[in-house]
């Protein structure tokens, strides 16, 4: 193959240390392959996170040449056509070590946005019939594929500006449940996200939608939440 890759990796927790590695090229090499090579062949103290390696688990997300991406699904030739890679942990989250971030604040916001399904009170009712073609079902379908990788959260400038903003992933999850006709927690959920750190904080930059590896649109989900909250406010429910 051609000349080795020049890889800079952010180390430690405060972003001040950058280590550089020369990594041999391989065909169809992913950025995760590069990180794994560094840890196995050059520096076993490098901390990073991965599990499935095939784009199902979402745990290998990092900042690759300034953009949040799944490293397992990012080919080196796509991310670094000039053979130079800069790897850093995901933005907007506390760094545990090197390329590993603490996802706890991210999932705490899912809880704050009432991201858990709340069964309706009529437990003795028959199975809910949810026709696939209804607008609610389609809206839920559009948002439900999120696997919680945190790429959108790292891409979001509003999260960077105000740390209490719930963020695109939590709001996208809330939008899925708002459209779930079986869910009984709609009013509490709308109240939780109708705060200034909720859907109103979104500037509609679209960074989340631009970077989502699943091609979801949290921007559209948040816009939908704004409309749902407006309707609830007009009915006097909020």
């Amino acid at each position: 193959m051609s000349s080795p890759l020049s890889v800079a990796v952010q180390r430690g927790t405060d972003g001040s240390r950058i280590d550089r590695f020369e990594v041999p090229r391989q065909s169809a090499q992913t950025v995760l392959d590069v990180v794994t090579w560094i840890q196995r062949e050059a520096d076993p103290t490098l901390a990073y996170r991965f599990a499935c390696r095939v784009g199902m688990c979402g745990s290998c997300a990092m900042t690759v040449n300034g953009k949040p991406r799944w490293t397992c699904r990012t080919r080196v030739e796509t991310a670094a056509p000039d053979g130079r890679l800069m790897l850093a942990p995901l933005r907007n989250l506390p760094v545990v070590k090197d390329l590993v971030v603490d996802m706890a604040p991210f999932f705490a916001k899912w809880s704050a946005a009432r991201g858990a399904f709340a069964p309706r009170a009529d437990l003795d009712a028959d199975f809910a019939v949810v026709p696939p073609a209804t607008p609610e079902r389609r809206a839920a379908d559009a948002a439900i594929e999120c696997i919680g990788c945190g790429v959108c959260y790292a891409a979001c400038d509003v999260v960077a500006w105000r740390s209490d903003y719930l963020g695109p992933a939590a709001l996208n999850r809330a939008w899925t449940l708002v459209n779930d006709v079986r869910d009984g927690g709609r009013q509490e959920r709308l109240a939780a996200i109708a705060e200034e750190a909720g859907c109103y904080a979104c500037h509609s930059h679209g960074s989340c939608t631009r970077h989502c590896p699943k091609s979801l649109s949290p921007t559209a989900a948040i816009a939908g939440l704004k409309r749902a909250v407006l309707r609830a406010a007009l009915r006097g429910e909020l």
């Binding site: 500006w161 105000r162 109708a194 705060e195 200034e196 909720g198 109103y200 904080a201 704004k226 909250v229 407006l230 609830a232 406010a233 007009l234 909020l238």
Partner: protein, 110 residues
């Protein structure tokens, strides 16, 4: 007032302002075609209930819209939150309302 209500007021006032600003801009363009004089303006507005009503709606919408938007910007960019910020914005709304209504009345009653 809840964030949802503020958002609603902001959007409704924006819809009103969108129309009002268009009328305002069209009026400016038409009014200056033959040169701009105080006399010409007052000839249009003096005693004209339609223009008076239009400017009242315009002023009220602006007095609602601007402080809510400014409050959001202040909270996000300066971190000024809480009661003092809200009171300052209510004061700002009152100033806009008084100055605007005073001007509308002046060109109507002149």
């Amino acid at each position: 007032m809840s964030a949802a209500r503020l958002f609603l007021l902001q959007r409704v006032s924006a819809a009103v302002l969108a129309l009002a600003v268009l009328v305002h801009l069209a009026t400016i363009i038409l009014a200056v075609r033959g040169g701009l004089t105080a006399g010409e303006i007052l000839a249009r507005t003096s005693g004209n209930v339609a223009w008076f009503a239009f400017y009242i709606v315009f002023v009220v919408a602006a007095a609602i819209h601007a402080p809510i938007g400014l409050r959001t910007i202040l909270r996000e960019w300066t971190g000024w939150r809480g009661r003092s910020c809200d009171l300052a914005m209510i004061l700002f709304a009152a100033v806009l309302l008084v100055l605007g209504l005073r001007a509308a009345w002046a060109v109507f009653a002149a």
